[in-house]
């Protein structure tokens, strides 16, 4: 059941993304993108990851609002310009080559949501995820194992992720400052 729903959602998201790419109107492109984002949130919910779904859905709605506002305010409503046939052809060929490798790997070698392949052949080894579930509470004191992993076992990664966000914001603030250059003062 979950698999069918996931497949349906994926197809829906692909169609919405294509629509966003192809449509000449900025507003409908923004709305289609919003549909893609909501699809992702539903996927998270289906996979029982509310910790990921909550922020995602909120951010999606916010971004959608902003995009719609931006699309309405601009006088330019359509995107024009010729598409580069040669570039598109090269991209398509590369994409096909990549798909030729990716499709068999994902359809045959790896099954979705299953245990790592290596763990199936070596059942005697305890995986990190099993350790988190069995000992997470007693070792970290955090009843929510997701938080235990995020902030205790892999807190260093979380610090890094917060830093990525910080760098992005700082970069945006830097690029939008009113005046970038100033004349040199000669001494």
């Amino acid at each position: 059941m979950v698999t069918q729903l996931l497949t349906f959602l994926l197809i829906f998201m692909i169609i919405a993304a294509l629509k966003a790419l192809m449509t000449p109107r900025l507003l409908s492109a923004a709305i289609s993108l919003g549909a893609v984002g909501l699809g992702v949130s539903f996927v998270f919910l289906l996979l029982r990851a509310p910790d990921a779904a909550i922020p995602h859905i909120v951010v999606e709605i916010l971004v959608l609002l902003l995009l719609i506002r931006a699309a309405i305010r601009r006088e330019v409503k359509t995107v024009s310009g010729q598409r580069d046939i040669f570039g598109a052809a090269v991209a398509a060929v590369l994409l096909l080559l990549l798909l030729a490798l990716i499709v068999p790997v994902f359809s045959e070698d790896l099954s979705f949501g299953a245990q790592p392949v290596w763990a199936v052949t070596n059942p005697q080894v305890e995986l990190a995820s099993a350790h988190y579930l069995s000992r997470g509470l007693s070792e970290t004191g955090s009843a929510n194992i997701v938080t235990a992993v995020l902030l205790a076992y892999r807190g260093y990664d979380t610090l890094g992720e917060a830093t990525v966000l910080f760098a992005a914001i700082l970069g945006a603030l830097v690029l939008l400052r009113p005046r970038a250059r100033k004349p040199l003062e000669e001494k």
Binding site: P50, D51, I54, P55, V58, V59, L62, L65, L66, R69, A70, R74, L137, T140, G141, S142, A143, N144, V146, T147, A148, L150, L151, A152, G155, Y156, T158, L159, A162, T163, L165, F166, I169, A172, L173, L176, R177, P178
Partner: protein
């Protein structure tokens, strides 16, 4: 009159604080049930963002000006780093030194040492970051001078 109609404003007035409380709950109970600093921080930011959307920029911006927001951003990130660095005294970077001293009781608020504190620091950081993203995008103006197009940020109207 800036902002949207009286209906939107009133509903915002009714709900903004509720959203804020829910965000605070997600942050403070992040180590106990679903939630955490990232999710909670985003929802905290939402309570500000809907106020900007409903009331227009001028009303809300002076409550949290850009310069202050940028500072809080740094401070939130720094607080997380300091929490982690203080772990050096417990032996390792990121070691849970508060829990070593005072373990607390499982399934209660004060139980996981630095984890709730780290959640609060992340929430502050994420909340202010998202607010800044919104601010930057909302205040972006495109100006044309001949064939030169410039994007500049201005005060929100």
């Amino acid at each position: 009159m800036t902002g949207m109609t009286v209906i939107v404003k009133t509903i915002t007035r009714w709900t903004a604080a509720l959203i804020f409380l829910y965000g605070a709950y997600l942050v403070l109970y992040g180590h106990l049930s679903v939630g955490g600093g990232f999710a909670g921080g985003i929802i905290l930011a939402c309570s500000y963002v809907i106020m900007i959307l409903a009331y227009g920029g001028k009303e809300t911006i002076h409550a949290l000006p850009k310069a202050v927001a940028a500072r809080l951003d740094s401070i939130g990130a720094l607080a997380f780093l300091i929490l982690a660095s203080l772990g050096m005294f417990g032996g390792f970077f990121f070691s849970n030194w508060i829990r070593d001293i005072w373990p607390g009781q499982q399934f209660r608020v004060f139980s996981a040492g630095i984890i709730p504190l780290a959640n609060i620091a992340i929430a502050l950081k994420v909340c202010v970051s998202l607010f800044l993203i919104f601010f930057i995008l909302a205040s972006l103006r495109m100006t044309r001078k001949g064939d030169k197009i410039e994007f500049r940020s201005e005060e929100v109207d």
